[in-house]
């Protein structure tokens, strides 16, 4: 028997898919903000003066980088309640994604900070800026502009990886696909459509990041 593709279910499901895509974008937006904050602090700590803190950040990076995201997610969502930390699926997903992404972006941000010439900080201090202000206003924006393309790639990789948070029943795009195919029995078509939605989302996020970067960090961003 020849199998015929059937997309007739699609029109009735566009709303659910759009909602799922919106949740996926929300997840990655939260992850980006929290993850970037952690990685700026982490990268600074890794270059800081306390040895134990440098060690701690190093260990965190190695542990996260050498274990699968899905295992981290299950550990946080199923494992932590047994020591009394019970999290909502959405919160667990954002926490797992943030911790995962930060382990990668700590190195990226660190490389950016190293790439800013020392003279920039010295000039800022010579102008009478306090060290913290010099870091926030002079060094950090330049570092971010340098690493912007790498950061964008990392955000897109994380967004694609976030499809597995459907496994702890967060209603994002992949979970909507699971629910739809269970209802329509059109598994292949459903996942095909959703795969292309993810493809469109990653193209859109890349484009959006470039526009945002140009506005905030100036023309240096490509």
């Amino acid at each position: 028997m020849k199998y015929a593709l059937d997309f007739s279910w699609l029109w009735g499901s566009l709303g659910a898919l759009a909602l799922g895509a919106a949740v996926t974008l929300l997840l990655i937006a939260c992850t980006t903000v929290f993850g970037l904050t952690i990685s700026i602090v982490g990268a600074a700590a890794r270059r800081g003066r306390y040895r134990w803190l440098r060690r701690l950040v190093g260990a965190y990076v190695e542990i996260i980088r050498n274990t699968p995201f899905l295992v981290q997610l299950f550990f946080i969502f199923f494992g932590l309640p047994s020591i009394g930390v019970r999290l909502d699926p959405m919160v667990a997903a954002i926490l797992a994604m943030t911790l995962n992404m930060a382990a990668y972006t700590i190195e990226v941000v660190g490389a950016g900070l190293d790439a800013v010439p020392r003279g920039q900080r010295e000039a800022a201090t010579a102008l009478g800026m306090r060290p913290r202000l010099a870091f926030l206003k002079v060094v950090l924006p330049q570092a971010l502009a340098i690493i912007y393309p790498a950061l964008t790639s990392q955000i897109i990789i994380m967004m694609l990886e976030s499809a597995v948070v459907s496994q702890i029943s967060v209603r994002e795009l992949a979970q909507e696909a699971d629910l739809l195919q269970a209802r329509t029995f059109r598994s292949f078509e459903t996942y095909l459509v959703v795969t292309f939605i993810y493809l469109a989302l990653s193209a859109a996020v890349r484009r959006g990041m470039i526009l945002f970067g140009r506005r905030v960090l100036g023309a240096a961003v490509q």
Partner: protein, 215 residues
């Protein structure tokens, strides 16, 4: 009811680890074979082949691995193939790996000086000989560090095969967790096992990277 001791849990997980290792090895071997084919397309002289290579890589790098696995799992039966989770996982991970490996090797090919390929053709080698004897050996050698780095990513990605129902490490852990209700121990151990698999490779990649920078 059967009581699970800590050692029972650990033993079962270690037994399941061989499937994770086997799946990683199969996907890496398959990915390398398909990856070379994609690399040929990507660096071909024919524009349509290059466009195919670019599109293939963009497709697999721009969509979630989980969706790729689902498409294999539900798509292959439509072609009349009987499919088990193992087959779907190996096929899905193979295509996924091939896109990344082709892209890594392409970077290696492009990093070689133009003179290499010009010298090869001036010696009268035709394109295939040129690639096989001159270009690829060098490209493979300078990309060893990122390839090992990708192998780590691939090993971690095999955890997704548990969602298709393949009995590797994580799927076994889910089953044990359902029997013992000790998620903290079970998933903690799974994380440790994955760490033991991946960390030496990460260090090896770092060593290769250091050596490349030194040269």
């Amino acid at each position: 009811m059967i009581e699970f001791t800590f050692w029972d849990i650990l033993r079962n997980l270690l037994f399941a680890t061989r499937w994770t290792v086997l799946l990683s090895a199969a996907a890496f071997a398959g990915g390398a074979a398909v990856g070379v084919a994609i690399l040929f397309a990507r660096i071909s002289k024919a524009p349509w082949a290059r466009r195919f290579g670019v599109g293939y890589i963009a497709l697999f790098q721009g969509t979630p691995l989980l969706m790729q696995l689902f498409l294999m799992f539900f798509g292959l039966p439509m072609l009349g193939l009987r499919i088990e989770p193992w087959t779907a996982a190996v096929c899905g991970l193979t295509f996924y790996a091939s896109a990344y490996l082709a892209e890594i090797w392409r970077a290696g090919v492009e990093a070689l000086p133009r003179g290499q390929s010009e010298a090869a053709s001036s010696l009268g080698l035709h394109r295939l000989q040129e690639l096989r004897l001159v270009i690829l050996p060098q490209a493979f050698r300078i990309t060893r560090a990122p390839v090992v780095g990708f192998l780590v990513q691939l090993i971690k990605s095999t955890a997704l095969a548990s969602i298709l129902g393949f009995e590797e490490l994580l799927k076994t852990a889910n089953a044990i967790n359902n029997a013992t209700f000790e998620p903290f121990t079970v998933y903690g151990l799974v994380a440790i096992i994955f760490f033991i698999l991946c960390y030496p490779l990460t260090q090896y990649a770092r060593m290769l990277e250091g050596r490349a920078a030194f040269r």
